[in-house]
């Protein structure tokens, strides 16, 4: 068994003696006999690290859908982007990995400054002045944005575009059970949200729309902004941060809050976590900002220093009056994103977005050339697109796996409107040869 406890039996004995105790069990005298576990845990005994690794490798081997085995055309917020060696090498440094939340700024300038740089980058991406130090994932960022918007407007109604990731919508619904928010889903028409007239029922406090949306389509954010202007709602844009390399920022479109899934910036697919909730907002809302915020200040010698700030917002101080309960967040992923964005730089972000756009266009043409495959919507797309298939999408995904591809995401009936919809994402890592082979395999799979 592997043990991470240093104490030898002699040491334990001498410590017990110091405490005047006869056994380790006596340490637990405060635990009433009645509730104590009277048996050993029914778990296997510990094993050595090599055996642990063998067990975990066994699980790993049992996954067929690995990016090193199936060429990945799946997206939906989680993308197979290039992660250069430099990103994990730096973000994986043990000073970042094994530190706690920076409670003592004097010995935590490393994490604090990295997060400050991250906040700057996210704010610039979003076109907004403030970004927090991260939330759990895209969906939790959307939930927090809804909470912020409802608190800011005092209106409990949240209009959610049907183009928002279905899992985000499910989370919004789950969490609304506690907050009492009233959610209204606004349907898509030909791939983009068909906003209702403002006087149609209760006015929204928050309007939430994707850019591009879940189906990859570019929404008319001008219309969404106009709706918000008309109704007094806050505009929350769920933006793909890679697409933001080419698209007008949420801020430029007039968003009050921009949220997003930060996984594309250096975080492995990892079956969905840990990911990174991006969150940026207008200055007016900074005191309602959920999660941590790092600010710049000085130390007693006047040297530049960083520290977590506006702490009075947070749950540990405001307690039941806090508008967010977030404590532990996804700092390491934020540091990872800062490094990955440092690697990309101004030109690299444009490059990766451009390459995605070109590969997506190339793939879309090839896929739509397959017999029986039809477009899902006519709206312009950037780095992801949906198609209708002549065969159940789940079946196609299985068949394509045998051909060496993770074909995409089979759209649920709710999203696809009963049809056999497949959502296909094409990153900068996909080569023309891979795309051609994909189309060929798809033709067989739907035949």
């Amino acid at each position: 068994m592997a043990s991470y406890i240093p104490h030898t039996d002699d040491e334990v004995a001498s410590m017990l003696a110091f405490l005047g105790l006869g056994s380790l069990d006596e340490l637990f005298a405060a635990v009433p006999e009645a509730v104590r576990l009277q048996r050993a845990l029914e778990l296997a005994d510990g094993v050595g690290e090599p055996d642990v690794l063998a067990a975990m490798e066994g699980y790993a081997r049992a996954n067929r859908a690995r990016a090193d085995r199936l060429i990945c055309f799946a997206g939906g917020g989680a993308y197979d982007h290039e992660v250069p060696s430099v990103t994990p090498a730096l973000a994986g440094r043990s000073e970042f990995v094994t530190s706690y939340t920076p409670y003592q700024p004097e010995v935590a300038q490393g994490v604090l400054q990295a997060v400050f740089e991250y906040q700057t980058m996210v704010a610039r991406l979003a076109g907004l002045p403030v970004a927090n130090a991260s939330l759990y994932d895209g969906g939790s960022a959307a939930v927090e944005a809804a909470n912020l918007g409802v608190a800011a407007t005092g209106r409990p109604t949240v209009w959610v575009s049907e183009g928002i990731h279905p899992h985000w919508r499910q989370m919004l619904a789950t969490l609304a059970a506690g907050t009492g928010h009233r959610l209204r889903t606004v349907a898509l028409a030909d791939g983009v949200t068909a906003w209702p007239d403002a006087d149609d029922g209760e006015p929204p406090g928050v309007v939430l729309v994707g850019y591009p949306n879940y189906l990859g389509c570019l929404e008319d954010l001008g219309a969404a902004r106009a709706l918000c202007d008309r109704t007094g709602a806050l505009l929350v844009v769920g933006a793909d941060p890679v697409a933001a390399g080419l698209l007008r920022s949420g801020g430029a479109w007039g968003a009050d809050v921009v949220v997003g899934e930060g996984q594309p910036f250096g975080t492995p697919l990892g079956f969905g976590g840990p990911y990174l909730g991006l969150f940026a907002c207008a200055a007016a809302h900074v005191r309602r900002l959920p999660g941590r915020l790092v600010g710049e200040t000085v130390d007693v010698d006047g040297r530049r220093a960083y520290v977590t700030t506006l702490r009075a917002r947070e749950q540990d101080i405001r307690r039941e009056k806090a508008t967010s309960n977030v404590c532990t967040n996804q700092t390491l992923m934020a540091v990872t994103a800062a490094i990955q964005l440092g690697w990309l730089g101004t030109s690299g972000l444009v490059e990766v977005a451009t390459r995605c756009a070109r590969a997506t266009a190339y793939a879309r043409r090839a896929v739509l050339a397959v017999d029986g495959v039809t477009p899902f919507a006519g709206a312009p797309v950037l780095r992801e697109f949906a198609v209708r298939l002549p065969v159940a999408a789940e079946t196609v995904v299985e068949r394509m796996a045998d051909a060496g591809f993770l074909a995409g995401i089979a759209l649920t009936d709710a999203v696809a409107g009963g049809g056999a919809g497949l959502l296909v994402a094409v990153t900068e890592r996909r080569t023309a040869r891979e795309i051609d082979a994909y189309a060929t395999a798809l033709a067989k799979a739907v035949a």
Binding site: M56, V97, Q109, D137, P274, N329
Partner: protein, 515 residues
């Protein structure tokens, strides 16, 4: 032994103390934006052969941004140097002891890094169907089973991404349970020693938080509890051992009382490390338990996250668990097979995907290595270490509740403050200079000038000795020199005491907000 190492009774050296000395200049590290120079780059991509179509053909003009997002433009060399230098400005468990109370900053085994990097785990897309991700589903099911045995519960959701997310999930389960019985309840009881996430989660769960005070022993005041218990109470949230490091000895009575009014017991598992294999929340009468895998099960804290906050529940709450959840299929084949199921009255999804899965994999690896036998020893030694420190320091600092503690001990500097003007924060900052991370100083709120020390089981007796000696030295300095003797510390850290008020007053949340 180095001349400067404290002579310890046990003759050891300061193994858990960061004895590193300054390497380089004392300058600030510029931000990446200041290191930026237009036109520089680090990136390169695959040669793909994809035609280089003009962007104008791909993105309608009204959607295209006018100018690129301005990021830093640096060489890979400068990026590496920048991040490496930042790392050299950061304390971490890997550098020395981190006795931060309530945070369980134990050593994180490196084998878990290997696990989290396995291509067969790290390279899996979360939307891939169950048929292609049997390994992941099996892993998650095994972890759930292990966590249920440890907590004594019937089932668990692995979705919550951290402790607070677990709390909120638990409260929504509580709500769903009561609603399913047609019962409308409005209040959740919380002791005044509770962590701030507890009341915040209660509010987000749509309940009113009702605080009950602690009694003279540091435990829930039973009379006060009885006074607030009625049919409006949906449940109570407890940390046991509580945040004072004390075991709520009346737990059976509390459970009884709460259950009697139809309420549920919620266990905040942040302090689970203390009781592994000794007593289980389920056996204490708890209905809902969240765990902080980033504390108890040695997944590293990453400077603030990621964590993982699975929630385990008793049988009657199973139908409400978030979904979809991985489940074993009683199939016909030889190999076990797994699929996703959504419980009948699931509260729904609480994570975009399946939880912080790579953190979950780390935790399972740690659990397999430690095993049932090892977990009990973890609790024993964690508690032994805390009690040794309590006893050792009892003459030097106040111990507000001087009885056997569990995994952590709450000291107080209130006498030092009264007599010498030295506050807990001064002690903490002075300790940084000694190469230890500071204890928790701002929590629990109910103790004046608290110094909450949690050594964890991975620190050796030699490290405890060095830590105690340092705290004794500091107390002696405080007594001899008063506030002035300590105010200038820390001196040798990358920055010295930081102006927190100014940070909040003149908010500079980004590089662009600088004057």
């Amino acid at each position: 032994m180095p001349a400067t190492a404290p002579a310890t009774a046990s003759g050891g050296a300061p193994g858990g103390r960061a004895a590193s000395a300054p390497l380089l200049g004392r300058e600030e590290e510029p931000t990446l934006f200041e290191l930026s120079h237009p036109g520089r780059r680090a990136w390169s991509f695959r040669t793909t052969g994809v035609p280089e179509v003009d962007l104008a053909e791909l993105v309608p003009a009204e959607h295209r941004r006018a100018a690129p997002v301005e990021l830093a433009e640096v060489s890979e060399r400068d990026l590496v140097a920048h991040a490496t230098r930042l790392a050299h400005r950061q304390f971490a468990v890997d550098l020395g002891a981190y006795p931060l109370g309530s945070c369980t900053m134990k050593y994180n085994p490196k084998v878990c890094d290997t696990v989290a990097a396995l291509p067969g785990l790290a390279g899996v897309h979360p939307a891939a169907p169950a048929s292609l991700t049997q390994g992941w589903l099996g892993l998650l099911v095994e972890l759930e089973e292990v966590l249920c045995e440890i907590t004594g519960m019937a089932g668990a959701t692995l979705q919550p991404a951290a402790g607070a997310a677990g709390e909120l999930t638990g409260l929504l389960l509580m709500r769903a349970y009561h609603e399913s019985r047609g019962s409308v309840r409005t209040k959740v009881i919380i002791p005044d020693s509770a962590h701030g996430t507890n009341p915040a989660s209660v509010t987000l769960g749509g309940y009113q938080a009702v605080t009950v005070p602690s009694d003279g022993r540091g435990c829930v005041d039973m009379a006060a509890l009885a006074a607030v218990l009625d049919e409006d109470v949906a449940g109570i949230m407890l940390t046991n051992p509580n945040t004072l490091g004390l075991f709520e000895e009346d737990i059976a009575a509390i459970a009884d009382a709460v259950h009697r009014v139809g309420g549920l017991l919620y266990y905040d598992g942040a302090n689970l490390n203390a009781i592994l294999g000794v007593v289980r929340p389920g056996d204490m009468g708890f209905d809902i338990v969240h765990m902080n895998l980033h504390k108890t099960f040695a997944t590293p804290h990453g400077g603030g996250g990621p964590g993982a906050g699975p929630v385990a529940v008793s049988e009657r709450l199973m139908p409400f668990l978030p979904g979809p959840r991985p489940a074993r299929v009683d199939g016909g084949g030889d190999e076990p097979a797994y699929r996703w199921v959504t419980p009948a009255r699931s509260i729904g999804r609480v994570h975009t995907w399946h939880g912080n899965t790579l953190v979950l994999a780390r935790a399972l690896a740690y659990l397999l290595a430690t095993g049932g036998d090892g977990l009990r020893r973890v609790a024993q030694i964690a508690v032994l270490n805390a009690n040794w420190l309590r006893r050792r320091l009892a003459g030097t600092y106040d111990v507000p509740f001087d009885r056997s503690c569990m995994h952590e001990v709450v000291l107080s500097a209130r006498t030092l403050k009264r007599d010498h003007g030295v506050r807990a924060v001064d002690v903490a900052k002075r300790l940084l200079e000694e190469g230890f991370h500071a204890p928790t100083v701002s929590f629990p709120l109910i103790v004046d000038e608290a110094l909450m020390v949690e050594p964890t089981e991975t620190e050796s007796p030699q490290t405890l000795e060095a830590l105690a000696a340092a705290l004794e030295r500091i107390a002696a300095e405080a007594v001899a020199g008063g506030h002035d003797a300590l105010a200038a510390y820390p001196k040798g850290t990358p920055v010295r005491r930081v102006d927190e008020a100014r940070a909040a007053r003149t908010l500079i949340p980004t590089f662009d907000a600088r004057g």
